[in-house]
Symmetry: C3
Subunit: 425 residues, 3 copies
Amino acid sequence: MNEAAAGNEMYRLVEELYPICRSITGNGVRKTLERIGRIIPLEIHEVPTGTQVFDWTVPREWNIDEAFIEDSNGTRLIDFRDHSLHVVSYSVPVDRMCDWDELEQHLHTIPEHPDWIPYRTSYYKDNWGFCLAHRDLERFKAGPYRVVIRSSLAEGSLTYGEAVIPGATEQEVLFFNHVCHPSLCNDNLSGNAVMAELARRLRERQSKFTYRFVWAPGTIGSITWLSRNEERLQRVRAGLVGVLLGDAGPFHYKRTRSGSEEIDRVVEFVLRERQPGAKFLDFSPYGYDERQFGSPGIAMPVGRLTRTPNGAYEEYHSSADNLDFVRPEYLVESLQVLERIIEVLEGNAYYQNTQPKCEPQLGRRGLYGSTGGSQPKQREHAMLWVLSMSDGTHSLLDICTKSGIDFDVVRGATDDLLGAGLLEG
Amino acid sequence: MNEAAAGNEMYRLVEELYPICRSITGNGVRKTLERIGRIIPLEIHEVPTGTQVFDWTVPREWNIDEAFIEDSNGTRLIDFRDHSLHVVSYSVPVDRMCDWDELEQHLHTIPEHPDWIPYRTSYYKDNWGFCLAHRDLERFKAGPYRVVIRSSLAEGSLTYGEAVIPGATEQEVLFFNHVCHPSLCNDNLSGNAVMAELARRLRERQSKFTYRFVWAPGTIGSITWLSRNEERLQRVRAGLVGVLLGDAGPFHYKRTRSGSEEIDRVVEFVLRERQPGAKFLDFSPYGYDERQFGSPGIAMPVGRLTRTPNGAYEEYHSSADNLDFVRPEYLVESLQVLERIIEVLEGNAYYQNTQPKCEPQLGRRGLYGSTGGSQPKQREHAMLWVLSMSDGTHSLLDICTKSGIDFDVVRGATDDLLGAGLLEG
Amino acid sequence: MNEAAAGNEMYRLVEELYPICRSITGNGVRKTLERIGRIIPLEIHEVPTGTQVFDWTVPREWNIDEAFIEDSNGTRLIDFRDHSLHVVSYSVPVDRMCDWDELEQHLHTIPEHPDWIPYRTSYYKDNWGFCLAHRDLERFKAGPYRVVIRSSLAEGSLTYGEAVIPGATEQEVLFFNHVCHPSLCNDNLSGNAVMAELARRLRERQSKFTYRFVWAPGTIGSITWLSRNEERLQRVRAGLVGVLLGDAGPFHYKRTRSGSEEIDRVVEFVLRERQPGAKFLDFSPYGYDERQFGSPGIAMPVGRLTRTPNGAYEEYHSSADNLDFVRPEYLVESLQVLERIIEVLEGNAYYQNTQPKCEPQLGRRGLYGSTGGSQPKQREHAMLWVLSMSDGTHSLLDICTKSGIDFDVVRGATDDLLGAGLLEG
């Protein structure tokens, strides 16, 4: 598949998933995972309501059929069928009349953007509410109003999907993304689509590492996943939360808790190579699921890759994060950065020079030009750097950073030296 | 007492102490400590002449009654009664005639500031001398001159005063200032007055730490104090030499020997908060009593707070360091900075998150807003930061510095989390 | 000898050595060492062909008598007698006719500098070649050409010279320079001459350290020297490869492998003192013999001092690196920098304050002015700094860097304190 076609495929997936009303549990998530599973086969996990996951409890499952507000003439002022953002997520069922003073407490708008519908949730407090364009408040003439939300909150389960692509070693690279947002495109459908395509491509290759992809609801989903996989977490050599990958903004990499993991160095290297305007953020405890991976008792080597980060664009968590906000070419660019990150992760390693006393004689092994007096070539330079720094404490990435030579050239020189027996792994 | 009244009180103390002729021993120091003792009760220590204190010996006690130079007509050219700076401190007694060539060797002036009297001492070498305005040399017509200094150098003692304000723990915070300068206002009366008022205020509060204030002569006084308290020095968690606190200049903090003590971080934090123009100096072995606290075999966590530092203002060590040079409002500002330093020292601590695996669920404890989708409030942010960084290696001050959130907000969030059992001390 | 005379002497040596055809083995090296030995007596080492030195083997010895190319009229187009660069170093013997197509493969020029002859070698691959000014290609009318190289490649030895100047301790300072380049002045005759004069001067002094100077062929020479001295390398406390010391360019110091050795600090200190425009380069595995000293299994504290570094000037490795390119005044300046490096290395040390609790009383030891109240003098300041930092973890150089005081003043203050028993070594 060429890259333009891949962009269109990912964008098509975003389009198909857009109308679905997702939340942290329920059939919206199941439908989403079922569609993603057509690109990359998923193992689906259902974790029952009431399961204790660290300090949290898996909540009741929420589903919704319809919801609307009617005026006293029976005119529908707001209808969930028009937009899944219209209902506050996890709204309890309601069907009754109420006057303006009460109703007003349950309406959410964005006065600065009168045409946009906000995104609101009430997962852990029983409540109900509607979100609407501020301009549409004009339609609310005198009450009373009929408010109907045909939702259910019941014993059920939290759903997440996982794809594992085995590699030569059990060491894992983890890609985590959330699937709990309703009709919002960049947050979270862009990440869902890029991750699906990335997994599909990895399945067609031989890899050194095992790759694990998780599509799960935000916060409670990552907490649940961590709680259920605690004894296997040491296998994770590196990871990324990959979200907000479809807008035009520059890449933003948020570092792991320690800020000094291999994944931090790899992503910085790749972004500096690919996009001079990329930005780097230290770990902070607000954001997406990287918060859980970076909590003090978990402290995994998991960073976060986004384009414009959460809260840094106006359209964030509103109906303006729609199909126009995400473009196929940005999805492709994000995919390519992730592939390059994987390439560098796979190719990076520590080696030991087997002839560490003085330089080995490269010339008699055919690795160095035979006429002296002029400058060596880049490949020869790269070999000298690899031999010099391969004392077991410097990775190939360190060698690239120090020497300023491209990763691919250093990797190639390393392969030559391995072939000549001048390095060992 | 409101702050303006406190400023006037401190300034009044400076005025009263100004005429007294102090030196490193003698009745001038005793009178000064007696007056300070009316604000904060002092324990007075008398250390006999000849006492060995590390490499030094407590010198003979020096007192002076009168001193003058008369010309051949009996006209007084210089009279100690006019200004205590007129006599070189520790001048030996003298009463005899001398001609200009000899007398000249014993006169000190500041040619660049012809109206100012310099401050000079000769503690450890028997000598005598007069200090005077350069312009007054004109009055010295033909000699011979009669020189009289009615001083005494005799067995006696070195005097210092101490006030201890007990706190909940035996860990001490030490405030050290010198009382050996004669009629100079900024150096040292400003510090004497601010420390007295600070001690008085602390006596009216409950504190976590025990506060120790020392008023002692410079150099020999701190050496004596350290020598006599050697076995108790580990109790000192933090300390400041607090001097030169009454002029208009910006604050200058001189770091402890290591430069990486808690007091260094606290003072830097407070000064950055209070005065963007504040300056920070690394430890150096020239200055005031911080030299002794920072000597290699003592190496205590004691920094130094001044406004304009020693030698950095023209009036330094001259009669121009007078009652006009010090103002009540600067004394108050210095006092407030010291109080804020104490507040941060008292409030700073290391905690341990009791639920370190993933975030604890703040919402069900009423600590987090129940409607999701919009940004958390500053207090909520502060709680996330405190939970994230409280792994035992980060203090609240570190958390403030990293997060950019105010100390008081972080402290308040910490108290909430302690109340909910999510932190332990 | 005054400095101008020293400059002329060094330049004279360069002039005398210039016509000699040196290579990595052979009589050119022997003649060069014989001439240097008249300035500083050398121990000459001959290492037989075939000797294994780490990953390398000492090659056959190469000597050359004559070489030329004639056209079909018997006109000499190129003659080795005109310039030793005309023959590719280590050219195998040849005496035959060849046409232009074949000959062209064996000719080397620099088209961008049509008047300059390049320097080329073929040490480890049997080959032959001529180097010439690009402009001289015009003289090559129709062939065939007669090509004669009367060289020999035979069992023999690799030659290097060593001078050891014993000091009070067995700890060594190593100065290494190469002698394998034919008629090139800056590379390597400037270094050969400066090292000879430096060694001569050291022989006339008492030193703390033992000084070892080595004149050896590049690469194979340093590898040979290291291989034969492996068990003695720990004696080397500091070292420099000193080459390219005669041109007008600013000094460039290339750091040791670790970059944090004493020699790194000393050279940086001296160059900052002597030449604000001096440049500092991190270790890299391309250059001169510092590559071998900095290889991962050797990792000695040996840096490299040059003026303009290898490859950074147009004349590098061409006939334009001639007697005009090197000037006596630059040779002298290089010599003086090296002498200052030695002075600081010899004078630098770690001491321990014997009275570390508070300041010792300098006044009663006559080390401090007796009149107080005014600023101390620079020597007094230096004593305070030395006492303060002499806790066994700071060298005098560290004290200079921290205090900003000159090395000579700090060294003098240290001697005073040693004399007073206030420091121990």
